[in-house]
């Protein structure tokens, strides 16, 4: 009944939302989910108290190969200059063909 897919979660500064969304789709994902977030990390506290200090948390369910290519792209494009954290895990989805 279920199919195994990758769940790729990205936490990064809000300013990247639009660009990231487009890129994720371009790499072959069929959708994503975004929530507002705040947090702390190597770049200090990002408390979402005003525009430039907010984070987003983006989740992408996709095939492992797509997840890998998105991750590789983000690593190359954003790791050096942006506050961005990325992690992956396995999830079981219904309607596997959707992702």
């Amino acid at each position: 009944m279920t199919t195994r897919r990758k769940l790729l979660t990205i936490v990064c500064e809000s300013d990247l939302e639009k660009k990231l969304g487009d890129e994720v789709m371009a790499f072959g994902a069929h959708g994503y989910t975004v929530t507002e977030a705040r947090g702390r990390g190597a770049g200090g506290e990002r408390d979402a108290a005003w525009g430039p200090s907010g984070n987003i948390r983006m989740e992408v369910i996709c095939e492992a190969a797509v997840a890998d290519s998105i991750a590789a792209h983000l690593r190359k494009t954003y790791f050096e200059h942006y506050a961005l954290v990325l992690y992956m895990s396995d999830v079981d989805v219904l309607r596997g063909e959707k992702f």
Binding site: K19, E36, P52, Y78
Partner: protein
């Protein structure tokens, strides 16, 4: 002291004392939308009183000012400050662009002095927002073949700051003084109170930004105070050329002296990734913004009196 500035100081105190007061992000956003739209509307209504053709020459002069300031700031940052190319370019963009709230505080200051100003100034505000950002991108990337300015230009002009200011301007111009009357209780009467709320929040934020700046040594600190003075001088010169009144001169000097902390950061973050935003925000919001509010505006006003009287 201008009352709304006292709210800013309260915010700074809260930030320094680490109060847990925090505006919800949606509240901050809502207030920003309101302020930008209200400023645009007021400007548009003023503008409706002037023939549109008289706007062209002043606009070109002001656009030149918006190009000149970042071009002047860049070598200072790069060679006197020893900053790397991307940072120098990004900071130059911030200082060439404008702070809408500083403009609003200067307007409130003028109202208290009973000094009027030309309706055109809101147009100048809109015109000064974008060019410096494009110059900043060019300075960072070079004007090479591969550079696509289209997306950045699009981003800035359709970004919410310029869209709301410009949109407000057009709507104000279309509906005119009688059209705005029933909307006045919201967009005119409440303006100063909402500005005070916004300044309280910006005080909380600025306190944290100036703390971040300490890590980067004294050059930026000095720059963040000297650059506005230079820019104000450029603004006064441009305003003198245009034959502005004392009020108009004060506002144009303030616009020139002010540094962006809304439109420029968002645009530079995407277009010049290797610039450190802590540097540009620390300087523009942590130092220049309070400096202009407390010291700058009264100073530019005095200077405007001299320029206009001389």
């Amino acid at each position: 002291m201008e009352p709304v500035v006292v709210f800013f100081l309260l915010g700074v105190a809260g930030g320094l004392l680490r109060s847990d007061l925090k505006f919800p992000p949606a509240f901050y956003e809502a207030i920003s939308i309101y302020l930008l739209l209200a400023i645009g509307l007021k400007g548009g209504v003023e503008l409706a009183r002037h023939p549109l053709a008289s706007v062209i020459v002043p606009s070109l002069v002001v656009l030149a000012l918006g190009v000149a300031i970042p071009l002047a700031a860049y070598p200072i940052l790069r060679y006197a400050g020893g900053l790397k190319r991307a940072d120098a370019a990004s900071i130059a963009a911030h200082y060439g662009s404008v702070s809408v709230v500083t403009f609003a505080v200067a307007s409130a200051f003028l109202v208290r002095q009973n000094v009027s100003h030309e309706g055109l100034l809101t147009v100048f505000l809109v015109l000064l927002e974008a060019p410096a950002i494009l110059i900043g991108v060019m300075l960072a990337r070079g004007v090479g073949a591969g550079t696509a300015f289209g997306p950045v230009a699009r981003e800035v002009v359709l970004g919410k700051s310029v869209f709301l200011l410009l949109g407000g301007l057009v709507v104000g111009w279309v509906i005119g003084p009688e059209g705005i009357a029933p909307l006045g209780p919201l967009f005119i009467d409440l303006f100063k109170g909402v500005l005070a709320l916004f300044l309280l929040e910006m005080g909380l934020v600025a306190a944290r930004q100036s703390a971040a700046l300490r890590r980067f040594g004294p050059f930026l600190l000095v720059f963040a105070i000297v650059m506005p003075l230079l820019s104000a001088a450029l603004g006064l010169t441009a305003g003198h050329l245009l034959g502005l009144s004392i009020g108009g001169l004060t506002l144009l000097a303030t616009l020139a002296a002010s540094a962006s902390y809304i439109a420029a950061p968002a645009a530079m973050r995407i277009a010049v990734p290797d610039a450190n935003p802590a540097l540009s925000l620390g300087a523009s919001l942590g130092i220049t913004f309070p400096f202009n509010l407390i010291v700058g505006i009264p100073l530019y006003y005095q200077a405007a009196i001299r320029v206009n009287g001389g």
